[in-house]
Amino acid sequence: MIVLEMFMLVILAFIIGMFFLGLSRKIMARIQWRFGPPITQPVIDIIKLFNQDSISHGLLFNFGIILSLAGSIVMVFFLPMGGMCPMSSSGGMLVILYIMLLGPLGLALSGGEAANPNISIGISRKFILALGYEVPLLLIFLAVMTHYGTISIVEIVKMQSANLWSFASLPLLLSGIAYLLILPALLGERPFELIKAPQEIASGPMTEYGGKFLALVTLQHAFHTFVGISLFVNLFLGGASNPGYFFLKMLVVFILLIFVNAVFPRFRIDQAIKYLWKWPTLLAFIGLIIVVIVD
C-alpha cells in the first residue's frame, strides 16, 4: 500500500514537474512575443538525452548526481499531497530540512570531481546562495512549527483545514510573504539564476554534464521545483484533500514565479545575499517574534 502510494506520488510529481518546466518555457516565450516549444518538449529532451553519449569523470561523478536526484525524489514522500504522505511519521519537518540538502550536496560532490573551474565557481555560488535563503527559510519554518506546536507537516496541514490557511491567519502572514520572496532563490530561478548563469560560467555545476547526466539533472530540477512549491502550498495554502485541487494551488504559485522570472535580470551573488538577508529575513524575523508573542 505504502509502496503504491509512493509510486503514485513519484509519477504525479514527475508529471507536474515536467509540466511546469514545459509551461515555463511556453509562458516565457509568450511574454517575449515568441511561440515557444510545445509543452512536452522537456520530456522529449530527456528521452533524447538518455540515448546520447556522455562523459564521466569517475565514480563520484556518477554517484553524486544519482544522490542528488534521489534526494529530491525522497522529499516528495515527506510532503503531503492530496491526503497522501507515506513518510508522515519519520521525523517531520526537521528531516525535510535536512533532506532538502541532499540535492545540492549530491550535485556539488558530483561536479567537484570533474575539476572544472566553472563548476567550482558554480558550486561556491550555490552554497553561498543556499546560506542566503536558508536564514529566512529557517525562520519561516520555525514560525510555522512554533505556531502549530508540532514538527509534523501532516498535522500542520490538518490544523489549517480545520481553521484558516496560514497565509490568511495573521501571525503567519509575514512568514508567508517572506517565503514567496525567497522562492525564486530556492528554485534557482531569475533573479537568482546565478548558479547556472550560462553566459558567465557555462551553466556552472552542470558544465560537464552531457547525455544521461543532463537528463538526470533536468529531472532533479523538475522534482526540486515541485518540492519547493509543494512545501509552500502545504505550509501556507492549507494543502489540499485531493491532488487536483493541490495542483491548482501549485499552478497559481508557479505562474507567479514565472512572471518574476520573466521580468527580472540576474543578481550578482553579493547583491543576492544582501537582498535575501534584508527584506525576507526581516519579515521572517518579525513574523517569528509575532508568533512567539501571540502564542
Binding site: 556522455s54 562523459i55 569523470h57 534521489a70 519519520s90 558550486i123 561556491s124 506546536g149 558544465t207
Partner: protein
C-alpha cells in the same frame, strides 16, 4: 573485577609501554595497541554494572572513592574506543619521528587519566586525575615544537585558571558540607542560598567551561588542536574536551540536582536559560569563523567549539530530549570529529601539508581516506543516516516544541555554516584539480585506513540504528531524574513527532537504487581524464591556477569584518599587560648585593615604623 583493576591496567600499561619502547620500539608499539584494545574490552565488561568502592581512606583525611555507573560507563567506552583507534592510527603516523616512547606514554596516560576522571566517585580523585590529564595534554600539544609550544602554553595557562577555580569550588563545598564524595554531595544544595549556589556555579563553570571550550573560554582550542599531532588531535577533540561536558553533567544533574538547576533564577533570566544562550553563541560565532580558515585542522578545531555549543545547548536545556540529544552528541562528535582529524592526518602524512589552498583531487589517489572524510563530513553536517542527524534532531525538536525558536534558529544556522565550511574542506582536499606534484601520492597505509573505516562504520551504524546508544543514554537521563524516552531500535516514538531512521534509510537507499537502474539503462558513459574538460574552446591548464583558493570569496568579503575573535584579542591584551607589569616588577632584581641589602633595611625600617606608630606586636 573491580574498577581499581581497570585503572591499574590503564596506568600500568602506559608506563610499561614507555619502558618497552626504550628496549625495542616495535615491542612498545604492539604493547600500546594491545593495552588500548584491552581497555576497551575491560570497560565493555562493566556494561550495566553499578559499583561504588572506597579504595583508599587516608588521603589527607579524604576517602578516595571509585564508582561505575551508566554515565561513567558511557564516557569510559567512548574514551577507550577513540583512544584505541587513534593509537592504531599513530603506528605509522608517528613512526620515524623522535621520542615515540614519550608520545605513546603520554597518549596512554591521557586515556588512563580520563578513565580515572569518569570513574572517580569523589572530587579529590576527580581533581587528581583532572590535573594528570591537563598536564600530559600540555606535553603532547607541544610535541611538535615550534608554534606548538605557544599553543601549549596558551592551553596550560587557561587550564590552570580552570583548575584553580575548581579547587576553590571544592574548598567552598568542603567548608560548608564537610564532604567531597559525589554521592554525599548530591542534593545537599537544595536549601542553599542563591548567592552560595551562584558562586559555586561560577567557579565550576570556569573549570569545566575552559576544558569544554565554551564560548568565552574557547580561545585555547584552535591553536592547540591544529598544532598537536593529528591522532592526538582526534583524542583532544573527541574526548578530552568532553571531560568538560562530563563535568557539567555531573555538576548540573548530580551535585546541584535537576530541580534546583532548572528552577534557579527568575524565569526568563534563569541560569539554565543563560547557559542555553551561551551554547547558542558557541554554535554560531565559531562555526562562521571556521568558514574563514585555510588550514584544514584549524577549520576542524573551530568546528569543535561549534559542536560543543550543541552539546551545551542540549545538556543545559534540561528536558529529556535535550539532555539525551546533548549526551548523544558527545558520542557523535567524538566519532566524526576524530574521523575528520584522522583523515587530515593521513593527508598530512602523505603530502606534508594541510593547507586547503594547495591541495586538491585526492579522491583519485586516496579513495578510502576520501570516504572517511565524506562520512565524517555528512556526520558533522547532520545529514540523515548519520549519527549527527539523530542527536541534532533531538535537540531541535525539544527547542521548538518548548517554545524556544530563537535558540533553535541559532542552532540551525550553525548547521548551515557547518555545511558550507565542511563542503569546502572536502572540496579543497579531495575534489577539484589534482596538482602535478601529488600525482604519485600513495594510499594511506592500512593502519591508518582501519581506524577511519571503523569510525565511518560507527557513524552510519548509529545513524541508522540510533536505538543502540540511545538505550544507554536513556538510562543516564532517568538516573538524573528526567522522564524516560520511548526508545526503539529505529529511533524515538512520541505523540509530537516520531523519528524513524530505518524508514528514512530504506527510502533513500531504495530511491538511489531505482535512479541508479534508470541511469544504468541509458548509454554507458566514457571515463575521461581530469584535463579533458569543457572550457569554451580552450583547455583548462594543469597547475596554472588553483580554483579552490578563496572558495567562498564573495561571502568572505561580506562577513569577515564581523567575525573577529575579540575574546582572544582581549585575553592576549591582558596577557601583554601582565607581561609588561611583571617586566617592571622584575627590575627590582638588579643583581647587586647593595640594592638587596637596601631592600632588607627598608623593610626592617618599615616594620619598626609600624611597631612604633601602631604598636602591633
Amino acid at each position: 573485577m573491580t574498577v581499581e583493576i581497570l585503572l591499574a591496567i590503564a596506568f600500568g600499561g602506559a608506563f610499561t609501554t614507555y619502558f618497552l619502547s626504550k628496549l625495542a620500539k616495535r615491542a612498545g608499539e604492539v604493547f600500546a595497541v594491545l593495552i588500548s584494545l584491552a581497555l576497551v574490552a575491560i570497560v565493555a565488561y562493566f556494561y550495566n554494572s553499578s559499583l561504588r568502592e572506597i579504595f583508599y581512606t587516608g588521603f589527607m583525611g579524604f576517602p578516595l572513592v571509585l564508582k561505575m555507573n551508566t554515565l561513567s560507563w558511557f564516557f569510559a567506552i567512548t574514551i577507550t574506543s577513540v583512544g584505541a583507534l587513534s593509537v592504531i592510527f599513530s603506528l605509522s603516523y608517528i613512526r620515524g619521528r623522535e621520542r615515540t616512547d614519550f608520545y605513546y606514554l603520554m597518549l596512554l596516560l591521557i586515556n588512563a587519566s580520563m578513565v580515572g576522571i569518569v570513574v572517580s566517585g569523589d572530587l579529590v580523585s576527580f581533581y587528581i586525575f583532572w590535573e594528570i590529564m591537563s598536564w600530559s595534554t600540555f606535553l603532547l600539544i607541544s610535541y611538535n615544537r615550534g608554534p606548538a609550544l605557544n599553543a601549549g602554553m596558551k592551553y596550560i595557562v587557561m587550564s590552570i585558571i580552570g583548575s584553580v577555580a575548581m579547587l576553590a569550588g571544592m574548598l567552598l563545598l568542603y567548608s560548608s558540607y564537610g564532604t567531597l564524595t559525589i554521592a554525599e554531595l548530591s542534593g545537599v544544595m537544595t536549601n542553599a542560598s542563591p548567592g552560595y549556589v551562584l558562586s559555586i556555579f561560577i567557579l565550576f563553570f570556569i573549570a569545566f567551561g575552559v576544558k569544554n571550550a565554551v564560548w568565552p573560554f574557547h580561545s585555547w582550542l584552535p591553536p592547540a588542536h591544529s598544532e598537536a599531532p593529528s591522532p592526538f588531535s582526534a583524542i583532544l577533540s573527541g574526548t578530552i574536551i568532553k571531560m568538560g561536558a562530563y563535568g557539567f553533567l555531573l555538576f548540573f544533574y548530580v551535585i546541584i540536582g535537576l530541580k534546583k538547576f532548572l528552577g534557579f533564577g527568575p524565569s526568563v533570566f534563569s541560569l539554565h536559560y543563560f547557559l542555553c544562550w551561551l551554547g547558542a553563541i558557541t554554535v554560531v560565532i565559531p562555526t562562521f569563523i571556521a568558514l574563514l580558515q585555510n588550514d584544514a585542522k584549524r577549520l576542524l578545531a573551530w568546528h569543535s567549539i561549534g559542536q560543543v555549543g550543541y552539546i551545551m545547548l542540549g545538556i543545559s536545556f534540561g528536558t529529556s530530549l535535550g539532555v539525551a540529544g546533548g549526551i548523544f552528541h558527545i558520542l557523535n562528535h567524538a566519532t566524526f570529529k576524530a574521523l575528520l582529524f584522522l583523515t587530515v592526518g593521513a593527508i598530512e602524512y602523505r603530502t606534508g601539508t594541510r593547507d586547503l589552498n594547495s591541495l586538491g583531487g585526492f579522491i583519485k589517489t586516496m579513495p578510502i581516506t576520501f570516504i572517511g572524510a565524506l562520512v565524517g563530513t555528512l556526520g558533522i553536517m547532520g545529514i540523515p543516516l548519520t549519527n549527527g542527524f539523530v542527536s541534532k534532531w533531538l535537540i531541535y525538536k525539544t527547542l521548538i516544541l518548548n517554545g524556544k525558536p530563537f535558540l533553535a534558529f541559532a542552532a540551525l544556522v550553525g548547521t548551515w555554516g557547518t555545511v558550507l565550511s565542511l563542503f569546502k574542506f572536502v572540496h579543497n582536499i579531495f575534489l577539484g584539480q589534482l596538482p602535478e606534484k601529488y600525482k604519485d601520492v600513495k594510499k594511506a597505509p592500512f593502519s591508518m585506513q582501519l581506524p577511519m573505516m571503523v569510525f565511518s562504520f560507527i557513524i552510519i551504524l548509529f545513524g541508522v540504528l540510533p536505538g543502540i546508544p540511545l538505550k544507554v543514554i536513556n538510562k543516564i537521563i532517568v538516573s538524573f531524574g528526567l522522564d524516560s524516552l520511548n526508545i526503539n531500535i529505529w529511533g524515538i516514538a512520541s505523540e509530537t513527532g516520531t523519528l524513524n531512521t530505518i524508514n528514512i534509510f530504506a527510502v533513500i537507499v531504495a530511491t538511489c537504487l531505482v535512479v541508479w537502474f534508470v541511469s544504468k539503462a541509458a548509454r554507458r558513459s566514457k571515463i575521461v581524464k581530469q584535463e579533458d574538460n569543457y572550457a569554451a574552446g580552450t583547455f583548462v591548464p594543469a597547475d596554472k591556477y588553483q580554483h579552490t583558493v578563496d572558495f567562498y570569496n564573495p561571502l568572505y568579503r561580506m562577513i569577515t569584518p564581523y567575525l573577529r575573535d575579540f575574546i582572544d584579542n582581549f585575553y592576549m591584551s591582558i596577557a601583554r599587560i601582565m607581561q609588561n607589569l611583571f617586566g617592571v616588577i622584575r627590575r627590582i632584581y638588579t643583581g647587586e648585593v647593595g640594592s638587596y641589602l637596601m631592600y632588607i633595611i627598608l623593610f626592617l625600617a618599615a616594620l619598626i615604623f609600624a611597631q612604633i606608630k601602631w604598636s602591633i606586636w
